[in-house]
């Protein structure tokens, strides 16, 4: 049997044939390159070429899954047997039917198309990355600073085939550049750019923006308290990513564990807040379908400050009942045990021309460019803690006046959104591009915003 150079779709079809009974084959092929640098010199460079085959077996509502990256017939047969044995064992151990409602049917209207694939970026050629690093280094040298960061480009092809008749292929490329500039005293400034294609990354401009956030003045210190805040887009994105899990996870919501439990249809944010999961948005990393083969579509989550929907895969929808259906948010074939989350959040922009306009009404407050180590303190309250990093500034008399020593915050995302006064007119794709495990580019499209009462706790 041919194994080399098979397309993901061909491989998915071949793998599915080894499954006995209901199931799904999911193939992901990653080609990526990541170049890291520190102290204005390259440090690590990782090139990956890998393909994995995930086989899902469904038996009497129970699922079993097995994954391999060895794709000859013997390995696929063994993997299929593992998945089937796992589903059968689950059924026997549970002693009754499981909660999987059955594999989704092929969509009647087909899958949405998108422009999320750039072949050159997916090739992961090291030359553009090397050139980007040279450009960043030149700007840093000129500014008398050291440069640290990451350039990465890659592409992931995903193919699904199921015994229900689903046949689907999606391709998404992604490129990302992060620049941190640092002076001799350890003061840092940050910039990141995220796009579908590497050509959209402007290394020189990114480095200049990062360098501009390194101010020579001694940083001020703020005592714990509540302050007006301007959160730049990267900081907003970090909070929205956490909110995605805490508020819009349909499984947690169905079990009464979600932050919007009993609050759908009510006001949870300021009227200016319109938050959607929008996989087809022009600036996101788009998706055609989720990992059950359910087509992606826009889903309003908060509209005019009113909580509208939570996300579902087929399993969480079945758990929720009451007519709930999958919204195309499966994070794993057969459903992730932790539930679901939006992966293409878009926060609608407002009318503030830029950060300066957001800052203008603030007499004394904080401008935050990046958050770090954000973690959940209380899930139902969307209470988070974390620190600021790589560019925190004091706002005085309507302008950014001087650097501020990094602060710890402990605050509720929904409270911040409820006390949001204004949003920037420009939204951009922000991401930390962390890529643990198989590459899955995810980010939020969002503007900067101004909110009252940002709670500094240290």
């Amino acid at each position: 049997m041919t194994t080399a150079r098979q397309s993901p779709a061909e491989l998915a079809a071949r793998a599915l044939a080894f499954l006995d009974g209901d199931g799904q084959a999911t193939v992901t092929r990653e080609r990526s390159l990541m170049l890291r640098y520190a102290r204005t010199a390259p440090t690590q460079a990782t090139e990956i070429d890998d393909t994995s085959v995930h086989l899902l077996a469904v038996r009497n509502g129970h699922v079993g899954a097995a994954t391999t990256n060895v794709v000859d017939d013997d390995a696929l047969r063994a993997t299929a047997r593992r998945a089937t044995d796992a589903a059968a064992a689950a059924a026997r151990a549970a002693g009754g039917p499981g909660d999987h409602p059955g594999l989704p049917q092929p969509p009647t209207g087909g899958y949405p198309t998108h422009d999320g694939w750039d072949s050159a970026t997916a090739e992961a050629d090291p030359a553009p990355g090397g050139a980007a690093l040279r450009e960043v280094f030149a700007v840093a040298h000129e500014a008398g600073l050291e440069a640290f960061g990451t350039w990465t480009a890659g592409g992931v092809e995903t193919a699904l085939a199921s015994t229900a008749g689903v046949v689907a292929v999606d391709r998404v490329s992604d490129a990302y550049l992060k620049v941190v500039c640092r002076d001799a005293r350890g003061r840092t400034g940050w910039d990141c750019q995220a796009a579908v294609g590497a050509e959209a990354l402007d290394a020189g401009a990114g480095a200049r923006r990062a360098a501009a956030k390194v101010w020579p003045e001694e940083p001020a210190e703020l005592p714990p308290g509540e302050y007006p805040v301007v959160l730049d887009a990267d900081a907003v994105g970090a909070l929205l990513e956490m909110l995605g899990w805490l508020a819009f996870n349909g499984l947690a919501h169905a079990e009464g564990r979600g932050a919007l439990d009993g609050r759908l249809g009510t006001s949870v944010a300021a009227p200016a807040i319109d938050l959607r999961d929008e996989p087809g948005h022009a600036r996101t990393w788009p998706r055609a379908f989720d990992l059950e083969g359910v087509p992606k579509r826009a889903l309003p989550l908060i509209a005019g400050g009113i909580a509208e929907h939570v996300c579902h895969d087929t399993r969480s929808a079945a758990r929720a009942g009451d007519g709930a259906v999958s919204t195309g948010h499966a994070l794993a074939p057969g459903g992730d045990p932790h539930g679901v989350a939006p992966t293409n959040l878009v926060l609608a922009p407002g009318d503030a021309a830029d950060v300066d306009a957001l800052v203008a009404p603030i007499e004394r407050g904080i401008y935050v460019t990046r958050l770090w180590y954000v973690n959940v303190v209380h899930p139902k309250q969307t209470l988070l803690t974390g620190t600021t990093r790589d560019g925190t500034f004091l706002i005085e008399d309507g302008r950014i006046s001087r650097p501020l020593r990094d602060v710890r915050f402990t605050d509720s995302v929904l409270r911040l959104l409820a006390h949001t006064e204004a949003l920037g007119a420009t939204a951009r794709l922000v991401s930390e591009a962390e890529y643990y495990g198989r590459r899955f580019a995810v980010g939020s499209v969002c503007p900067a915003l101004r909110a009252q009462g940002f709670r500094v706790t240290g």
Partner: protein, 483 residues
């Protein structure tokens, strides 16, 4: 593994003359994860992967390429790609590596009861028995149990002449009850939060946890927390359970003592450190009270950070990082060690699977046992304080200087006795001040390894498993209730 080692040797031999250093690694990884909740199976997932990672050093720049093609042609293609990646980057100047004595041999981690030889039903039934013990009250919104098991086989050849093979088995499990009511949500776990505890061991480790015995208590405490009073604020004496101390140690000592962070190599992502390389040379940095003794030990039986050799072929070792409260050493790999003139690497170079290159990672970093006896002895010796158990939330800044932790539960300590339960406890501090307030560590009878499997670092991201040995410990004048 012998044939694979021959291929790796051949690959690094082919790299000769094309780079200053080369290493070739083969990793075969097998994992299973099981999860059940209430009367349902959430997941039975099996995973198997295999591949090669080739790393080269050209003109001071590293190149690394990973492939699932484990043939000779695949290895050669990966080598060519790694060289191309290294050559495409700006020149970086010399990157010396600390010397290493070439190593050969094989190492096996402990495993008495092979988890992959047991039937799935047997393992699932073990979890169902635990879940059954958490049921029966409508306020429990979710009762779940999970288990993981892995087996990893690695082979490594380097252009320095090292050629070694290793095999590791890990197993772990945990239970969790989530109660909801009147707008409140509370979770209790056992033996620790975030999925349970894992060890370098076979299924005997899971059996030893005795999940079913603890299940009723876990559920009852989750329910009790729904109406428990909020933990009071203030400067308090706190006693940390060993699991919480393990995470405290992980975040505010072990990461801070990674030499690549001190050298700013992780400044754009994981962060830097409040400790500098000069602090190492001086031997005068007080990290904590004289009760604080911290080791890094890759030879500990059952540790997730144990091995025969690290991923640069450096033999496993035990090193004192902090002795009597004073900084003594850092966690290093060959490059970072050479950068500050150390004679040898600390043996802390580890990679997550075949598709990631080795970076500085902690081995088993532990607080050495003290002389405060058992947990009961320490409580009895505490007049007024709080006993904090089971991590719920953690966050620390990018210099590992200021932190904030929350735990699932606090219990009042009054007159040497445990008292009422408090919900939503948290505490915060500054790393050297906090460790400076350490005034008692329980003894060897209370000391245990706690396995963490979710330590993230590196770009692209790498998840690493590590164990921390700790015993319950007492700290004075800690800020409680900041959140």
């Amino acid at each position: 593994m012998r044939a694979m080692l021959d291929l790796l040797r051949l690959t690094v031999d082919r790299a000769a003359g094309r780079c200053a250093y080369a290493e070739a690694r083969h990793v075969h990884h097998r994992a299973e994860s099981l999860a059940v909740h209430d009367e349902l199976v959430d997941a039975v997932d099996a995973e198997e992967s295999e591949g090669l990672g080739i790393r080269v050093l050209v003109g001071g720049a590293w190149g690394f390429a990973a492939t699932r093609d484990v043939s000779a042609a695949g290895a050669e293609a990966a080598l060519v790609r790694a060289l191309a990646v290294a050559e495409a980057q700006p020149a970086a100047g010399a990157r010396p590596l600390a010397p290493v004595t070439p190593q050969t041999g094989h190492w096996d981690g402990p495993c008495d009861l092979d988890p992959f030889a047991l039937s799935l039903e047997e393992r699932l039934e073990h979890l169902f028995a635990a879940v059954a013990g958490m049921g029966g009250d409508a306020r429990i919104a979710r009762a779940q149990a999970s288990a993981t098991m892995t087996r990893t086989r690695k082979a490594l050849a380097t252009s320095d002449g090292t050629a070694v093979t290793q095999a590791f088995t890990t197993c772990g499990a945990g239970i969790e009850a989530t109660a909801v009511g009147d707008g409140e949500l509370q979770t209790r776990t056992y033996p620790c939060s975030h999925g349970g505890t894992v060890a370098g061991a076979g299924w005997e480790h899971v059996l030893g946890l005795d999940l079913a015995r603890h299940a009723p208590r876990v559920a009852a405490e989750a329910i009790e927390l729904l109406t428990a009073p909020e933990c009071p604020d203030g400067l308090r004496t706190i006693v940390l359970h060993g699991e919480q101390l393990a995470l405290q140690l992980h975040e505010s000592v072990a990461h801070a003592l990674e030499l690549d962070r001190m050298l700013l190599g992780e400044a754009s992502y994981a962060g830097t450190s409040w400790v500098t390389p000069e602090d190492l040379a001086g031997g005068a940095l007080r990290y904590g009270s004289d009760r604080l003794n911290v080791s890094a030990d890759a030879t500990l039986a059952g540790g997730l950070g144990s091995f025969g050799w690290d991923d640069e072929g450096v033999a496993a070792a035990r090193t004192m990082l902090v002795a009597d409260g004073v900084l003594r050493a850092a966690l290093s790999d060959r490059q970072s060690a050479a950068a500050i003139g150390l004679e040898r690497s600390g043996g802390c170079s580890r990679a997550d699977g075949f598709a990631r290159q080795p970076i500085v990672r902690m081995t088993n970093v532990s607080v050495e046992p003290g002389d405060a006896g058992s947990l009961e002895d320490l409580i009895a010796d505490t007049d007024d304080g709080l006993y904090l158990e089971s991590n719920r939330s953690w966050s620390i800044d990018d210099r590992r200087w200021q932190f904030q932790f929350a735990t699932e539960v606090a219990r009042e300590i009054r007159g040497g006795q445990l008292g009422k339960l408090y919900r939503n406890p948290s505490y915060a501090g500054i790393t050297p001040r906090f460790w400076g307030s350490l005034d008692a560590v329980c003894g060897p009878e209370a000391w245990a390894l706690h396995g963490l499997t979710n330590c993230g670092k590196g770009e692209p991201g790498q998840i690493m498993a590590v164990s921390h040995g700790t015993a319950p410990a007492r700290f004075r004048d800690v800020q409680v209730g900041v959140a």
